[in-house]
């Protein structure tokens, strides 16, 4: 069987094919376009400014409780003290000269140059384009190099089987976990649970790059610091009052 294909037929056939492909693809692809359906970009960098002068001990405890409530950690039955997860904790720092004691909440600092990402052998430690540092637990093999690399001791390892997790925070034995800056809330345009728990100006959450954001404006105005600034990790979490 021979068939001569002239240019017209060729064009006709290819268009027919293209339509076929497009309709298959549309079955798979997304049909609506809300904000959360667009990939995050590096035009933004999420950060937090924690003003220890404005935070009482009780405020800090509220932050810890809000985090536990949001992500469902802290009820581990079989883990010993050392093994218990600590997504956020209250830390006391003492000025050796004056004896002044400050309490501050410490969690993943969402570094621009995260050591945990550098050492991860499976690419499970990731920094999103918008600066949020995460563990992709699907890829995590539980080697815990990242826990050793983190200067802030902010990652934990799940030592036991869990059930009844929070829908937005899947967690399971054998993987590393840490503060996610509440990505699931941030992607919806909300603020992290710990920020909401304090209210007021004690903790400001926002886009560090946005010149109109409260966090950007405040950082331009007041004295602030990064914990272990000497490491040049350029953290997303900043402190003032210490």
């Amino acid at each position: 069987m021979t068939k001569k294909l002239n240019r017209r037929d060729f064009i006709k056939n290819t268009t027919a094919n293209t339509v076929g492909v497009a309709s298959i693809a549309s079955g798979i692809s997304l049909t609506t376009f809300a904000a959360s359906e667009n990939p995050v970009s590096n035009k933004k960098r999420w950060g937090m400014l924690i003003d220890t002068n404005k935070l009482s001990e009780a405020n800090i405890e509220d932050m810890v409780n809000a985090c536990q409530e949001e992500h469902g950690w802290g009820n581990e039955k079989y883990s010993t003290g050392e093994q218990k997860p600590d997504w956020i904790k209250k830390v006391k720092v003492k000025d050796k000269a004056t004896g002044k004691i400050d309490s501050l909440p410490l969690m993943c600092q969402h570094c621009e140059q995260p050591p945990c990402v550098d050492v991860c052998p499976t690419n499970a430690s990731v920094k999103r384009e918008d600066g949020i540092v995460l563990v992709d637990k699907h890829l995590c093999i539980g080697c815990r190099y990242c826990m050793m690399a983190c200067p802030y001791d902010s990652r934990s390892f799940v030592h036991e089987n869990l059930s009844n997790q929070k829908a937005d925070t899947p967690r399971g034995k054998g993987t590393v976990e840490a503060c996610t800056m509440c990505v699931h809330r941030v992607d919806k345009g909300e603020v992290p649970a710990c920020v909401e728990a304090v209210g007021g100006d004690g903790v400001i959450f926002g886009d560090l790059y946005d010149a109109n954001s409260k966090i950007n404006k405040t950082l331009k105005k007041i004295q602030s610091t990064q914990i272990r600034a000497d490491l040049n990790l350029n953290t997303g979490v900043r402190y003032s009052g210490i």
Binding site: I28, L30, T32, A34, S36, H138, K188
Partner: protein, 127 residues
């Protein structure tokens, strides 16, 4: 020759289906309701496709959500659980329990999932 496409179709369908013994899979409460309302196609444009391709869809969606923050409902595991869960005595049954939606077919084909070691097995909202 005219029957060939029909035979082919019949073969395709029998090979992809892994139905329960009664020929009806336990879809879960919400999904059953939606099916009765004729809304199936709005959710899964093609049944044959979701039956065959859901592992790929889920893994793709997983990477999109984690790495790019894409949180639409389509192919979200949380959404599968919300829609395909069944209830008994006013309580949700874990979706990966025997005879529940994410386990019947898998039992048949001898696949076991680790997803629910971390992912919640019931919808979070109260009944």
């Amino acid at each position: 020759m005219r029957h060939f496409p029909i035979i082919l179709l019949a073969l395709m369908f029998t090979s992809v289906f892994a139905h329960g013994n009664d020929g009806h899979i336990n879809l879960g409460d919400k999904a059953t309701e939606l099916k009765e309302e004729g809304k199936s196609r709005d959710i899964h444009p093609s049944l044959a496709e979701i039956r065959k391709m859901h592992p790929e869809f889920l893994l793709h969606k997983r990477d999109q959500t984690l790495r790019q923050g894409i949180r639409s409902k389509r192919n979200s595991l949380k959404a599968c659980v919300d829609c395909h869960s069944s209830t008994k005595n006013d309580e949700y049954l874990p979706i990966n329990a025997p005879e529940q939606f994410c386990s019947t077919c898998h039992q048949k084909v001898g696949t076991s999932l680790d997803c629910f070691a971390c992912h919640r097995t019931t919808p979070e909202e109260e009944l």
